[in-house]
């Protein structure tokens, strides 16, 4: 290598790299680990990323088996191993079946019947060994019938026997080590496992058997990369990779088992020129952490619906995103009128994203749990890949300009209302403003011409109460009580939404004496307002509004980036600075606005302080799912259970 590449080659210890890589993916890639359940509705059950990953057992099944106990980032030990591993399966398999390739051996195994080769308990007992609870179908002696049989065995049967023999043996040993060291998290990796449902199944079965269901075998989506990632991290050590956060880039990464031999042949053909598996990760300049206000961070799942499990929903959303593709492509082209190859790139984007959708249709588990969020994020990644970082940039600007013109008038008419009327108007304002979302196809037609008219019209069109989810009365009662110390507001769209809906609401909070932290996207997504844009907007508003101006000046109105570049919101991956601010300011109210952040994600999220989730459902399928209709309103005000409102006698719904 030194000679061929004319580069210095630093040898790094294999085990160290493996563990470093394993720690890295477990901490940084959502839905990295999964449980494999062959006969369940969704074969792959992805685990939520837990920052607390230690201790765990890593069983690496290569030619041989290494069993490593990992106690912390720097403390790990190879506590044992076995010489009966992938090499044994391959070697013995080749000798017995004359099959040369590992993949072929597995294919043979998947078709075989091992009972003709193995001696089962029922072959010895005539049934089960009841006294000990050993069922008749258990293997008593692998290859136990091979000595006395008078006929030849088929390759498939022998391969299957061999597979069970080896998987069961490895599983048993892993369980014995796990038991000795009191470990309940056992991850499996190595070429024996990689992308092979057959071996994942047998190992899962084995672990389940030997621990009587107490421990589940866990696999890693990117286990083939552990060593390389570890080596990379070692080399990058001076740069301290831990100071960054990382995300999986869905555009550049091929999905789980994209090159598995069991894969749909069409898929393999489509993969085209690149017969390799790829992982692309984005390094984020800033660290991402949990929102401190999550009631139970370890069980927090952002997504409301899991499309890997819900086949009907999956079918709908994949179809929906396919249908919307035309519009997205047009928008992308239109956003770069001065660049001649924009049309070409947009077409490439279309091909790529469509291919992703098709992959996901075949293999919903390709990138972990499939959710509306992941579909949206994948689209963003693909747009970025073909140089469309912000297709809505000009539209956002235009909308902002128009909305700003109307701002003072809107605020003035609000100030003229009675207190109660004003509160309601403010809420309706946020909701109506939220209807202005270019991301939802149903609305874009209404808005092309006159935003002012559009806004008034939208307010009028807003669903009559009672809303689909309606806790407005409780919210109003709460407002009669003492002001909140600090509100954290996750905002949504640019234009009418932020300027005419959100800002007046914020203004009201400031007037009451509540501090406000506006959390907006770090990077662009659809027409959502970004932190950079919000800074500019707020200054322009401050120029015409003394309340906002005072808020900024007195440091009671803060603008902080959320860490997200998605239309959805993952409260477990927020910018570290935001988390700090939330803590310092003793935030006691969280407001989440919009379908992406309050319905597709976080609909069921439980916070440890009061929260307000506001959105208008702009998708008729989803509305129907939730028991409403198109443009139904969700106004969810929640108070954590066991925390009665301090000075408020009002009933607190949970």
């Amino acid at each position: 290598m030194k000679y061929q590449c004319r580069r210095r080659v630093d040898k790094e210890d294999e085990m160290t790299c493996l563990i470093k890589g394993c720690n890295f993916v477990l901490k940084n890639i959502p839905h990295e680990a999964f449980v494999y359940a062959k006969h369940a509705d969704s074969e792959f059950r992805f685990q939520t990323t837990n920052p607390d990953i230690f201790p765990y057992l890593l069983v690496n099944i290569g030619s041989g088996v290494s069993i490593v106990k990992v106690e912390s980032e720097d403390k790990f030990e190879r506590i044992g191993g076995s010489s009966i591993g992938g090499g044994t399966f391959w070697g013995l398999g080749a000798l017995l079946t004359k099959t040369k390739r590992f993949d072929e051996l597995l294919q043979l195994a998947s078709k075989g019947q091992h009972a003709s080769v193995d001696m089962l308990v029922k072959d010895i007992y005539g049934g089960s060994y009841g006294y000990l609870g050993l069922t008749g179908d258990l293997i008593a002696s692998s290859f136990g019938k091979s000595a006395t049989a008078d006929k030849d065995f088929s390759k498939e049967d022998m391969a299957k026997s061999l597979l069970h023999m080896i998987s069961n043996d490895i599983g048993q040993l892993a369980c014995l080590y796990a038991k000795l060291h009191n470990l309940s998290r056992v991850y499996f990796g190595g070429f024996f496992i990689r992308g092979h449902p057959v071996t994942m199944h047998t190992i899962t079965y084995s672990i389940n058997f030997f621990t009587k269901g107490e421990v589940q075998a866990l696999f890693l989506r990117h286990e083939g990369y552990l060593g390389t990632i570890g080596a990379f991290l070692k080399g990058a050590e001076e740069d301290n990779p831990n100071q960054y956060s990382w995300g999986e880039n869905y555009a550049g990464s091929s999905g789980l088992m994209s090159v598995s031999p069991d894969m749909n042949p069409m898929q393999r053909a489509r993969s085209g020129t690149f017969p390799f598996d790829m992982l692309e990760m984005d390094r984020l300049e800033r660290q991402l952490v949990n929102l401190p206000l999550l009631q139970d961070p370890s069980s927090y799942i952002p997504d409301t619906v899991d499309l890997t499990e819900d086949a009907l929903a999956r079918e709908y959303w994949l179809y929906c995103f396919e249908e919307a593709l035309d519009g997205v492509v047009k928008r992308a082209v239109a956003s770069q009128p001065d660049m001649p190859e924009a049309a070409l790139r947009a077409e490439k984007f279309r091909q790529k994203y469509r291919h992703k959708l098709q992959t996901l249709r075949q293999q919903p588990f390709a990138y972990g749990s499939l959710t509306v969020r992941s579909l949206l994020d994948t689209r963003e990644h693909c747009l970025n890949e073909f140089n469309f970082p912000d297709p809505y940039s000009k539209i956002k600007q235009r909308e902002n300009d128009i909305a700003l013109k109307y701002y003072q008038k809107a605020v003035k008419s609000l100030d003229e209302l009675s207190w109660e009327e004003k509160q309601f108007a403010l809420v309706r304002g946020v909701l109506a403003g939220n209807v202005f979302d270019w991301g939802a196809k149903a609305v874009s037609d209404v808005l092309e011409s006159d935003p002012e008219f559009g806004f008034e019209e939208a307010k009028r069109q807003l669903e009559e109460r009672p809303w689909l989810v309606d806790s407005y009365d409780q919210w109003l009662e709460r407002l009669k009580g003492p002001p909140h110390k600090c509100a954290l507001f996750f905002v949504d769209n640019s234009g009418v939404d932020i300027i005419l809906g959100v800002m007046p609401f914020v203004r009201e909070l400031l007037s009451r004496g509540t501090e406000v932290v506006l959390a907006s996207n770090s990077g662009p997504a659809l027409n959502d307002v970004t932190n950079g844009e919000l800074q500019i907007l707020t200054e322009r508003i401050a120029a015409m509004d003394p309340v906002i101006e005072a808020g900024l000046r007195e440091d009671r109105l803060l603008l902080v980036q959320s860490g997200s570049s998605s239309p959805c919101l993952d409260l477990s991956r927020l910018d570290k600075v935001l988390a700090m601010v939330v803590r310092e300011r003793q935030t006691d109210l969280v407001i989440i606005e919009g379908m992406g952040r309050a319905i597709h994600t976080n609909y069921y999220a439980m916070l440890s302080c009061e929260s307000l989730k506001m959105a208008v459902i702009k998708n008729s399928w989803l509305a129907d799912r939730l028991g409403g209709k198109l443009f139904s309103v969700v106004f969810k005000y929640e108070v954590p259970a066991g925390k009665p409102n301090k000075d408020c006698g009002a009933f607190s719904p949970s």
Partner: protein, 370 residues
């Protein structure tokens, strides 16, 4: 043996253990028959006794292990010799036929049998030989048999033994020992499959686990890989072969020891690992393959045993079962593995009567019902 002698069961006294591969039969030949008794003795009982004791081979596959015979044994107040006979389970029908021919059923004795076959072939016994089996649990019998044989004061060699210097072929010797105060004990029974028991006292034991990679696997794989057909053939081949040609060793991967984790270069990294390569597949001999199979199965049993010993906190391990019959290679490997990987903490013990304990336990149940 202190249970009050109620009625002695009538002769013949048999204990049977019908396993997956072999049937083990234990027969007590009374040597203190009085003239009176002789007179009254039924003809077919005499003929059975004569047939069993004057032959050392029965049919094509039955064998009496003369070297294991226990002479001048006192059982249930009678003095005699205990004989140890085995034949393949495959040939059980022939045995049943013989039982029928010799009108065994007219002797009205209870036939105590253990092992899976006692359940599987229960109806065959009834139908073909008109015999009613008294079925017993194989692990109960195993433990009972082990404890009994070790305690018996016999003039012969010690039942229990171990290996001194197992790593050094020139100085490796068998040394006798007893199972005095043996508890807690890990009992590893290597038959077709393997059962691992933790024994805390005569009546207190549990089956910790088992593995399907046992004697049956060794024999089965050997037959497939080398074309041999008996256990003895397989062992003979193994004794001539070199497993390091078949296995991939640590030094084959690391060029030496993997010091970081204390793995010596000679340790096997991947059993049959060299067989991934076509060239190597074509260059190894049948003997090498047989040896590798033996080593792989044996070391695996050793590994699992060691982990069980650690989990159960037991330091004494007793290996029994017919996999170890005439298989000094495996015994030494086990002795060495236990010692080396546990850094001397674990001690491996063996018993001369290897696979017969179940049958002995069954016989004991006949004589002293629990």
């Amino acid at each position: 043996d202190n249970i009050g002698l109620a009625r002695k069961p009538p002769f013949p006294w048999f204990g049977m253990d019908i396993g997956g591969t072999l049937v083990k039969l234990v027969y007590f030949e009374p040597k203190d028959i009085t003239a009176e008794e002789e007179q009254e003795e039924v003809e077919n009982l005499k003929s059975i006794r004569r047939y069993l004791t004057s032959n050392t081979a029965y049919g094509k596959t039955g064998i009496r292990d003369v070297h294991l015979e226990l002479q001048d044994l006192t059982l249930c107040g009678r003095k005699g010799n205990l004989h140890f006979i085995r034949f393949p389970t495959h040939d059980l029908p022939a045995f049943l036929q013989m039982g029928r021919d010799k009108h065994f059923s007219s002797l009205h004795t209870t036939l105590c049998a253990t092992g899976g076959g006692a359940y599987k072939f229960e109806s065959d016994f009834r139908m073909m030989a008109d015999l009613e089996l008294h079925k017993l649990d194989e692990l109960d019998c195993l433990i009972r048999g082990v404890l009994y044989l070790d305690s018996v004061m016999s003039s012969g060699p010690s039942e229990c033994y171990y290996f001194e210097n197992p790593a050094d072929p020139d100085h490796c010797v068998q040394k006798p020992c007893t199972l005095e105060n043996p508890y807690p004990l890990l009992l590893v029974n290597i038959g077709s499959g393997v059962s691992i028991l933790a024994v805390y006292s005569e009546n207190n034991y549990k089956r910790v686990t088992g593995t399907s990679l046992g004697g049956g696997t060794f024999l089965g794989l050997c037959c497939l890989l080398t074309g041999c057909s008996t256990f003895e053939e397989a062992l003979e081949m193994a004794s001539q072969g070199e497993s390091t040609r078949v296995d991939k060793l640590v030094r084959d991967i690391y060029g030496g020891d993997y010091e970081r984790f204390g793995l010596p270069g000679w340790a096997v990294a991947s059993s049959f690992g060299n067989m991934m390569s076509k060239d190597k597949r074509e260059s190894v001999s049948k003997e090498d393959l047989a040896r590798a199979t033996l080593v792989t199965i044996t070391n695996n049993i050793g590994s699992i045993t060691r982990m069980c010993a650690l989990n159960e906190n037991i330091e004494t391990v007793l290996f029994v079962g017919n996999f170890l019959r005439v298989n000094t290679l495996s015994m030494k490997l086990l002795a060495y593995a236990m010692d080396y990987w546990s850094k001397g903490q674990l001690k491996a013990l063996f018993l001369r009567h290897e696979g017969y304990f179940g049958a002995v336990g069954a016989l004991l149940e006949l004589l002293h019902p629990s």
